[in-house]
């Protein structure tokens, strides 16, 4: 089935070629890392021209289509009216108040966390250098918006820090000589999963009641974990450096392969069912590395063997991200419009019918 090794025969529901709506900014570069706002109204994504810029764009989505040309989010000093550009803006996450938090840096500058909101003028630095030094990366926002956790390389190999919105204070929450990365809050905000570098790769950890606990390790990288209720879904390449699988961990030391040979997104965690949609089921959406199926995306249950195959009619589909908005399932992803096309473009599909 689909060129994937599976423990059981899966039930695959093929729905024919879906009509994806292409969202083009007109900029040169590959589009990737789409991130839905919590209300599904906005989609943030990145465009990288593989030269010196990685820009962040935001577009308003209505009925599965863009309402306007995507708006570039300008890093202060990195493309304003009076600067030469050369900026990096990446790793966007949405705050429940509707703001976008992302890593930004100008040419040769430190990576800092910035804040921007649709309709508001310019991005501003979330935290000052006095509050926390070093390069800041991997922001994640608690579901109530009260805390933002991130990585700073000011200490250790990169430790976790948390910013408390009410008090405007930053405190260190992990301290190790190893690099910590990609923290993600659980749906109730009480726990955080993240990865810690070991000698050969990365292991998945959790932070519960302020204490770091190893969750699951293995050969290679156990990378970019995300919560689904109490489970942690992550990418793993323990079978080989270029062979990426999606795994799920239901407890300490436990892990199970959900699917093998997926197309590893540029930076995203596995896209699991958003909070509020099918909480008892849980789905993960992905593209595959099999070139014969590169135009297809798969939406797979974390609990049984159901798989929905979504034929995008495009090439090299991946970077999938789901949103559940007012009873509508939307899927954002990037793909080449045709074989030999220069740049991956952002697309959106309404996949509600797949679940009916």
């Amino acid at each position: 089935m689909m060129g994937m090794l599976r423990g059981a025969i899966a039930a695959v529901f093929c729905m024919g070629v879906a009509q994806a709506s292409e969202i083009s900014s007109g900029a040169r570069g590959h589009s990737f890392n789409p991130v839905w706002s919590p209300d599904g109204r906005y989609l943030a994504f990145e465009i990288n021209d593989y030269e010196r810029t990685n820009d962040l764009y935001v577009v308003e989505i209505s009925n599965g289509s863009a309402t306007q040309v995507p708006q570039k989010v300008v890093v202060p000093g990195g493309g304003s009216s009076f600067s030469g550009g050369g900026a990096i803006a990446t790793g966007a996450v949405w705050h429940p108040e509707g703001a976008l938090i992302f890593e930004g840096s100008t040419s040769g500058g430190s990576s800092r966390l910035y804040l921007w909101m649709p309709g508001r003028q310019g991005a501003g630095e979330l935290l000052t250098g006095t509050q926390i030094g070093g390069d800041l990366s991997w922001p994640t926002v608690s579901p109530d918006g009260a805390k933002v956790m991130f990585v700073s390389d000011a200490t250790g190999g990169g430790d976790l820090y948390v910013w408390d919105k009410a008090s405007n204070t930053v405190s260190q929450v992990s301290s190790s000589p190893f690099a910590e990365m990609s923290p993600k809050y659980s749906e109730d905000g009480s726990r955080v999963t993240y990865t810690r570098k070991n000698r050969g790769g990365h292991d998945v950890y959790t932070l519960e009641a302020g204490a770091p606990r190893p969750r699951v390790g293995g050969n290679g990288d156990q990378s970019r974990p995300a919560w689904h209720i109490n489970d942690i879904v992550f990418f793993s390449n323990e079978r080989g450096e270029q062979e990426w699988d999606i795994m799920v961990s239901k407890g300490v030391g436990q892990k199970r392969t959900v699917v093998e040979n997926v197309r590893l997104p540029h930076r995203m965690s596995p896209s699991v069912t958003p909070d509020g949609g099918y909480p008892d089921q849980g789905w993960v959406v992905y593209g595959v590395s099999d070139p014969t199926k590169s135009g297809k995306l798969y939406c797979e249950s974390l609990f049984d063997d159901q798989i929905y195959e979504i034929d995008t009619g495009l090439v090299a589909a991946g970077e999938a991200s789901m949103a559940y908005v007012n009873g509508t399932w939307l899927l954002a992803f990037t793909a080449l419009p045709a074989k030999g096309a220069d740049w991956r473009q952002l697309h959106v599909i309404d996949i509600t019918s797949y679940f009916e």
């Binding site: 202060p76 000093g77 304003s80 009216s81 009076f82 600067s83 030469g84 705050h95 108040e97 703001a99 100008t106 500058g109 804040l115 909101m117 309709g119 508001r120 003028q121 310019g122 501003g124 630095e125 979330l126 935290l127 000052t128 918006g145 919105k165 009410a166 008090s167 405007n168």
Partner: protein, 422 residues
């Protein structure tokens, strides 16, 4: 000798005339220097902005602002980068002001959007804390906003309030508490005004957009001067039964009020006392007791009233305005014309006294003199709620027959001036 001092007047006039003649050239040169400084500061500002060194941008912008008075026109870019720096440094009021200045130079969508953004997310407030307020007062927000510029603005307002200074400016939209009084800041241009009363608690009012703010003095306080001075009186014009020129040292004491009327401007109203005591003399030298004449000291005692416009330039206080004095004086010796030519028709009223008698005659009478006085003070110390300054006061008054120029060095106590804009 007073007469000799006034003989120097032509020389002073020549120097002043040369200064006036040279001033256009000097002005042009100053303007060129200011323009060159502007170019230098613009380059410095760009360099800092390119490296996101906002303190440097702010410093450059603030250095540019005084150049405007020297004829330099700041550009759109100057104001825009000044606004960027103010935003990064957390002063939304300055952001707003600088954007308005940028828009006055050039209308762009960028600035229009930014101003619209501020108007949509901020509201105007006036949190008024009288200088006499002694109690504690705090400003709290129900939910701290997410955006750093909004948090900084709240921090700025909280800082001023905690120092018992009034805060007039923008606050992010939200629910607040000020001195136990809750209020809501809403976008849309209305101004929320909370003024602490004499009794604890604040009075809340709302002023519609476009409605003029009621006038209020920006600062009020007593102003007192105590000093030593020198006063001289020129020889009376036209002769007659008038004393000759005289002068002497004395004290000058004054007390009154200073009221701020907006910006750096204010009004000084003062009543005081001014005197002089001097040894009698004339063009032939000091007068001494002889032949039954007692050469009594020249003296003058005057009360004065001074009404002046004041201007506060940080620690430099300037005040200029009309002054009127009323008092009495006693001087030994009549005016020089009658001493030299007692038979002159202008001196008939003095009878047939000899020149020597006239030199030593005691003249007493009333003095009423009007004129102008200038005060230049430099604040040096804080004395409770007041500030103390060292002052140089200068004045010229006339009773229509003679001039009374005077100067005094004084210690001046005055109210702290207008609060800065943060």
């Amino acid at each position: 000798m007073t007469h000799e001092r006034w003989m120097n007047l032509p020389r002073v006039a020549i120097v002043a005339g040369l200064c006036v003649a040279a001033s256009p050239a000097a002005e042009a040169s100053a303007k060129e220097i200011a323009k060159a400084e502007h170019v230098r500061l613009s380059e410095e500002m760009n360099k800092h902005a390119g490296k996101l060194r906002w303190q440097g941008v702010e410093r450059a912008y603030r250095s540019m602002e005084p150049l405007v008075k020297k004829g330099v026109v700041l550009t759109y870019r100057d104001h825009y980068q000044g606004a960027q720096a103010a935003r990064e440094l957390g002063n939304i009021n300055q952001v707003f002001n600088r954007l308005q200045r940028a828009e006055a130079v050039e209308k762009t969508g960028d600035v229009a959007n930014w101003l619209a953004d501020i108007n949509a997310n901020y509201g105007l407030v006036e949190l008024v804390i009288p200088k006499s307020w002694k109690g504690e007062v705090g400003l709290d927000i129900a939910s701290m906003p997410l955006f750093p510029d909004q948090r900084s603005t709240i921090g700025l307002a909280q800082g001023r309030v905690s120092e018992r200074k009034s805060y007039m400016g923008l606050l992010p939209v939200g629910e607040y508490t000020f001195a136990d009084k809750s209020f809501t800041v809403v976008p849309g241009g209305d101004t929320i005004r909370l003024e602490l009363g004499r009794k604890h608690g604040a009075e809340v009012s709302r002023r519609k957009e476009g409605e003029r703010a009621p006038f209020r003095f920006t600062y009020v306080g007593p102003r007192a001067d105590i000093g030593l001075g020198w006063t001289s009186a020129a020889d009376a014009r036209g002769g007659g039964a008038q004393p000759g020129g005289f002068g002497g040292a004395g004290t000058r004491l004054g007390g009154g009020l200073e009221l701020g009327v907006g910006g750096a401007w204010g009004v000084v109203a003062q009543l005081g006392y001014h005197n002089l005591f001097g040894n009698p003399s004339d063009s032939d030298g000091a007068l001494e007791d002889s032949d039954g004449f007692k050469a009594r000291m020249d003296m003058m005692h005057m009360g004065y009233g001074w009404l002046a416009a004041s201007y506060r330039l940080n620690d430099l206080w300037l005040a200029l305005g009309p002054i009127y004095s009323l008092g009495s004086g006693g001087v030994t010796g009549v005016n020089g014309l009658c001493v030299d030519t007692p038979e002159s028709s202008d001196c008939k009223s003095l009878g047939t006294s000899s020149s020597d008698t006239l030199r030593k005659s005691r003249m007493t009478g009333e003095v009423r003199a009007g004129g102008a006085a200038l005060g230049a003070s430099y604040a040096m110390w804080t004395v409770g709620p007041l500030e103390a300054a060292l002052s140089l006061n200068l004045g010229v008054q006339s009773d229509m027959s003679r001039m009374y120029p005077w100067t005094a060095f004084a210690v001046t106590l005055g109210p702290a001036g207008p609060e800065d804009d943060g």
